[in-house]
Point group: C2
Chain length 325, copies 2
Amino acid sequence: MANIKEIAKLAGVSIATVSRVLNQHPYVREDKRAAVLEAVEKLNYSQNMNAVHLVKGKTSMIAVVLPYVNHPYFGGITDGIANASLACNYKLILCQTDYRAEEEQKVLDMLRMKQVDGIVFCSKTMTWDEIEPYTVYGPIIACENAGDRAVSSVFIDHYGSFKLGMDYLIAKGHRKIGYFIGRGDSYINMNRKLAYMDALQAIGEEPYAEWQFERIFDFERGIEVVRRLLAMKNRPTAILGSGDHPAAAIVAEARKHGIRVPEDLAVIGSDNHPIAEVLGITTIELSMYDVGKNAFEILFERMNDKSLPSTRKELTYRLIERSTV
Amino acid sequence: MANIKEIAKLAGVSIATVSRVLNQHPYVREDKRAAVLEAVEKLNYSQNMNAVHLVKGKTSMIAVVLPYVNHPYFGGITDGIANASLACNYKLILCQTDYRAEEEQKVLDMLRMKQVDGIVFCSKTMTWDEIEPYTVYGPIIACENAGDRAVSSVFIDHYGSFKLGMDYLIAKGHRKIGYFIGRGDSYINMNRKLAYMDALQAIGEEPYAEWQFERIFDFERGIEVVRRLLAMKNRPTAILGSGDHPAAAIVAEARKHGIRVPEDLAVIGSDNHPIAEVLGITTIELSMYDVGKNAFEILFERMNDKSLPSTRKELTYRLIERSTV
DNA sequence: ATAAAATATGAAAAGCTTTTCAGGTCAAGA
DNA sequence: TCTTGACCTGAAAAGCTTTTCATATTTTAT
C-alpha cells in the first residue's frame, strides 16, 4: 500500500507538502496541491492512522469500562457517551470487565500505553486508590461519586434517591419494607443500603435480613425474588429497588401468584426506563443517559486541556408516582 | 516518558535486546534480561502501543457497527461479540451510526487506515456493493444474510421465522393478522414482510395496509401501535412482530384499554428476551447473542489467515408458546 | 579436535507521519 | 529602492518499536 513518500515522488514534491495538503494546511500552491491530490487518487493512498497516532501522541479514542454491555443501566450510560462522543469525533472502546480487576487493569494500561486518551468507568472493582495514579497518563472519570480525587465524577446521589423512595413508602404507611439491589459491595449500592437502614431507624424498625435481596440484576433475578418472597411466612408489604427490569419482573411474577400489587406488595423501581412507564411501575428516575453524556463532556474538556483539574457533577433524581404503590 | 532507547542505555544493551525481553523472545542471557527488567522498573517504562501497531500493521481491535447501542437486539449481538473477543484479547470499537451512511463510511475508512483489523456490521444503510470493496483491507462480517460475496455472514432466516409465526397464528384460526417491525427497508425486515405477504396469500387474505406497523423499535412505539389500533373500526385479531419489548408494550397497553389478550388480540414477539418470559409473551426465539459470538469467531479466523475465503453461517430459531396466542 | 548446531547480540532498516526550522519568493508599503 | 510581511517549500528530526541480518560465542556431536 502506498505511503506518503510515494505520493511525494509521484507528485514531484516533498513529503512535507503532501502532509500539508492532506491536513489542509494553508500555504500550498494550487498546482502542487492538485498534483498531490491526483497522486493520492492514482495510488489509492490512505493514511496509516497508527503512524498519525504515534506522532500526535493521541488517538481520539476513549475506553468505556463496564461489567456488562447488555444491561439497561450501562446501556443508558453508554448511549449517552456514544452520542456525545459522536459530535466530537471520538470513538469508544468498549471494555466489558465482568467485574474482574484484571480486565480493569488492562484498560488502565491502555491509557498508559497511549492507546486511549481517557477512560470512563461506569462501575468497577478496583479501588480508587489503585486507579487514581493513572490519571497522570490521561483523564479518568467515574459514573459514581469518587470523592475528592484526581478522578472526576458525574453522579447521582443514590443515598438520597433511595431515601426518597423509603420515605415515600413510609408516608404511605409501610413499615415492613425490603429492598433489591445489584452487587451489594459497589459504592452505589452501599449508599442505597445505608439509606435503607437510616430510613428504617427513623421509624424505629429493625432491618430484616430476609427482605434484603442482592445480586438482582435482571428479569430472572426478579422472578427469583418473588419465589423467595412466596416461601416466607413474614413478608414485607413493600419493596424498593434498583432497576425497573427486576421491578417489572417482581410485579408480573407476584401478580401471577396472587399477590396483589400494590395492595399486598408495593413496588418501587429505579431508572424510569420505558418499561416502567408501560407497566405503570412507580419508580425513581435516574437519567443514566445524562450521566454518560456529561461524563464524556467533562472528559473531553480534560483531554484537550491537560491542566484542567478534576471536577465533580451531581445530577438529580425524582420519584415518579405510578400504580405500584 | 521513557522509551525503549533509554531503557537500552540504562541497561547497557541494544534496543533489540530490550525488545526481546519485552516480548519474551528466547535467546537473551539471564543477566541482561534482569538488567533490562530493572531499567524498565526504574524508569517506569511502558510500551507505546501506537508504535507497536504501526510496525505490526495490526491493532487487535475490531469495529462493531450498529445504529443504536442501547437496544436489546443490538445489545444481544454486542454482548456475544464482546464475550468472544475477550477470550482472544481483541477490543471492540463501538460505532453508533444512527443509520447514517456517512458514519458507516468512517468505519470503513478506519479499516482502510489500519485502525481496526476487521468490522462486524450489525445493521447498515450502505449497500453491500459499496461495502464489499473494503474487504481487501480486512475481513468484514454481516449479522444478516449478505449473500454470496467477499463479506461473510452470520444470520437467522427471518423470512422463515416470520413465516413460522404467521403459520402458527393461522393454525390457531386467525385470518386478520397485522405485523410490526423496525426499519421497513432493512434486509431483515424486507424478508419479514415477504413472509407475511406469502402467508396471507396462502390463505387467500388481502394484506391490509393499516395493520402493518413500521418503525416500531421500543416500548413507546408499541404503545403507539395500540393507540392506532384503538382508533380502528376494523381491527386485526392477531399481530406478529419483531422485538419482545414492543410486544410487551402492546400487550400491557392493550389490556389497559380493555382489549383482552389473547382473546381479542393475539400477540407474538421476537427474540425471546427475558421480558417475554416474565410477561408470558409468545415469541420466536432468535439468539442474537450467538449471532454475535459466531460473528466474532468467523472474523477472528479471517484476521489471522487472510487467505481464508468468506463464509456464511445460518443459525436457528424456534417458536416459544406462551400465553399471548 | 573439529564441525555443526544452538545461543546471544547489536546495527540498521522498516513501518509512516507530523512538525519545526531554515531558507526561499513575491508583492505591497515606505 | 529598501523593508516588511505574507506565502511557499523541503530537509531533517521526532515520535517508537519490531525484525532482519550479520556476526560472535558456546555447546554438542562426531
